[in-house]
Amino acid sequence: MAKVVFEISHSNWFGKDYKAFDTSFISIGRGYQNDLILFDTHVSNKHLLITQDQDGWIVEDLQSDNGLHINNSAAKVKKAKIKSGDKLTIGRTHLRIFSPEHPIPKTKLIVQTNKFLKRLSTPVNVCSTAIGMLLLYAFETLYHSPKDILIQKLLLSSVGFLFIAVIWAGIWAFVGSVAKHKARFFFQLAISCFFMFCIIPFTNFSSYLGYYANSQTIEGISYIILLGGSIFWLLSSNLLIATNISRKSRLFVSIFIPIALIAIITLSYFAFKDDFNTYPYSNSTLKPPLVRSFPSKSIDSFIKNGSEIFIFNKNELKQQ
């Protein structure tokens, strides 16, 4: 649970940004060693230190050049006790400090996003997510095999996937220990296991959807949405736990990376689409006859439509 939320605004910016911290000490400044980094040239390298107190916070100016102003007062303050809702001005940046219980909708929102992750990261849930993931991957291996496989072998094959989740969590724990001085490995492990747990049903869902709709486009779109959404959730959760970057930057990074991946895949599809190959690629998904969603055509109308595949344009017929 976050312990403090900052509302950050700047005289030259449009809009406000929110950041939540769950530590008892928060350093603020322009330098990268700070917990809250402000890109404001009028802010000193090490500007403020905020320490949690019993019913509020103590703010302390770390001998900055431009000083600290509280609640629009003209006087420079060296050290003061502040409460939720107070406004701090350093350089040209305005910070409002809120307690998570403060009745402002935006702070509620920030605090709420953490609830699911918080619940996910309890030891019981981390273990059950990891075990669930192991079982799901074991089942997936069995599902693709023509013969029955011993449960031990199946589990062994899915341990590899758990290992991937552990490595991913390890990377973010390292990032966390650098950026926030807190690794929170189990938190990260819960996130990566949950992500890997979700992508299997998502992938299967897409291919079933594509089959019953007889459309590779629908399959592709559904796959992009579900997988893109999962990657977005994974990255934003990892960033939320490991770093103190603002909500805006977090959203930007976690949207940008999946979009960049999709763009690269789309681009490479179009780049290699017209390359010569001797293989007849047609939509070959087959799923059990569970629902009859498609109207079957008659042979006559199939043959009638069939003439479309004999039409090739000049570009396709070019000899070189």
Partner: protein, 434 residues
């Protein structure tokens, strides 16, 4: 170069003469005692048989060798189309030369071709060499015949063998010659004791099984060719396309009008040997699982038309795979079924972008005689012969939870109308037995 043969995983090695003599290295050569008869014939005809070589203009080196023989005093020389094909497709890069028995070299121009029967007539200047007279191939089985040619560039040889009649089950009439033909003898003459041409050497399946083009096709071509003169500007592509189109049209008319032998696989009645040119083979895969079973049938017409070293056509084949679950859940069964369905025939007949386009496909669910099928239909166009397409029909039954049949049909070098007519008849003949 590779053997031309079907590339299915379960294509059976038992296969007839699908390959061209030039690209095959025969097994141990067979040594005949040279009788005096053969010696006399050799002496009589050696001046009318030539080595044909295709020379690369840039390097001046030969790229292909074969044999040929003279059939008129005007300098008409006969060889195989596949011997001179590179000079036909890229006349700016290759020229045709022939070497006489006294090692002198002459140059020749391509006069006419019959791509379906693999014959080419080339023309050199009129000369004093002796020449062969054309006979006919309607002779008694067992008659002794002789073949001449230049195997592996080792020098002119004469081979004695037996005439074993026309192959009944081939799409294109061929004489079965029991004698050893080897690479380099393509285009050489096969003649009787009187020195009359019976056929032209064309291909081998090794072990004394060799094939000749019957002389009648040559006589027909020569009738037209002798009135022609060499025109350099002629586009051979148009000639080849015309001949291929006519051939596939006749062939498909024959298939469409004939009564097909139906086979049954699993619960399904399917088309089997469409004409006598087709052969079907059954197979149960070596690896069997306890949780599901499968069985295959593979049919093909085993006839190919050689167009160039990168392109052949004319072949048709289809395969069936029946699968049923004996212990898998329907989800697992369909997963395996899907994996099998994803394996498609990888067309080995054209490997170059300059010859064919990519495949264009569409997929539909179709109800055939009461059963739902998922059908993918693909085609690709020949770039030089635009009325012709390679076809892939790949279908899978999707109405049963624990069993299914997959069908893949491959037809090379077909026009659009015939292809669709044929597919219509083919899928209409697939009947799921309740």
């Amino acid at each position: 170069m590779k053997q031309i043969r079907t590339n299915f995983k379960f294509a059976f090695k038992i296969s007839l003469a699908n390959f061209i003599i030039l690209v095959i290295f025969a097994n141990n050569s067979f040594s005949n005692d040279i009788t005096d008869e053969a010696k006399d014939l050799y002496i009589e005809h050696r001046n009318s048989v030539y080595q044909i070589q295709i020379v690369n203009n840039a390097t001046g080196k030969k790229s292909t060798i074969g044999s040929g023989f003279q059939i008129s005093k005007d300098g008409h020389i006969v060889t195989n189309f596949h011997v001179v094909s590179s000079a036909i497709h890229s006349p700016e890069d290759y020229r045709v030369e022939f070497i006489r028995s006294d090692d002198t070299i002459g140059s020749a121009q391509i006069l006419d071709i019959d791509v379906v029967h693999d014959i080419a007539i080339i023309k050199s200047d009129p000369n004093e060499s002796s020449f062969f007279h054309l006979g006919n191939s309607d002779i008694e089985k067992g008659t002794k015949i002789f073949s001449m040619g230049n195997p592996h560039d080792l020098g002119m040889t004469i081979v004695e063998g037996t005439y074993n009649g026309l192959m009944k089950e081939s799409l294109y009439k061929k004489i079965l010659f029991s004698g050893s033909l080897n690479p380099g003898m393509s285009g050489g003459p096969a003649f009787n004791r009187k020195g009359e041409i019976i056929g032209i050497n064309v291909s081998t399946a090794g072990n004394q099984i060799s094939f000749l083009v019957p002389v009648e096709f040559l006589s027909e071509l020569f009738k037209v060719a002798k009135t022609k003169s060499v025109t350099k500007s002629l586009s051979w592509d148009a000639v080849i396309e015309r001949q291929l189109s006519k051939n596939q049209n006749d062939y498909f008319n024959k298939i469409l009008s004939s009564n097909w032998n139906n086979l049954s696989i699993g619960n399904v009645e399917v088309p089997g040997e469409l004409t006598s040119a087709f052969k079907c083979w059954g197979n149960t895969p070596e690896v069997q699982y306890t949780l599901f079973k499968s069985a295959d049938i593979f049919c093909s017409n085993e006839d190919v038309l050689y167009l160039s070293s990168n392109l052949w056509t004319g072949e048709m084949l289809f395969r069936y795979k029946w699968m049923y679950s004996t212990g898998l859940s329907t989800f697992r069964f369909y997963n395996l079924y899907e994996n099998q369905f994803k394996e498609k025939y990888d067309y080995p007949n054209a490997k170059k972008k300059s010859d064919v386009t990519n495949f264009k496909c569409q997929t539909e669910f179709v109800n055939i005689n009461g059963m739902d099928w998922k059908i993918g239909l693909c085609s690709r166009n020949y770039k030089k012969y635009r009325s012709l397409y390679d076809i892939n029909l790949s279908m899978s039954s999707v109405g049963e939870k624990m069993e299914g049949l997959m069908v893949e049909l491959v037809a090379l070098g077909v026009n659009k109308t015939k292809a669709l007519d044929f597919i219509y008849k083919f899928i209409g003949n697939i009947k799921w037995q309740k």
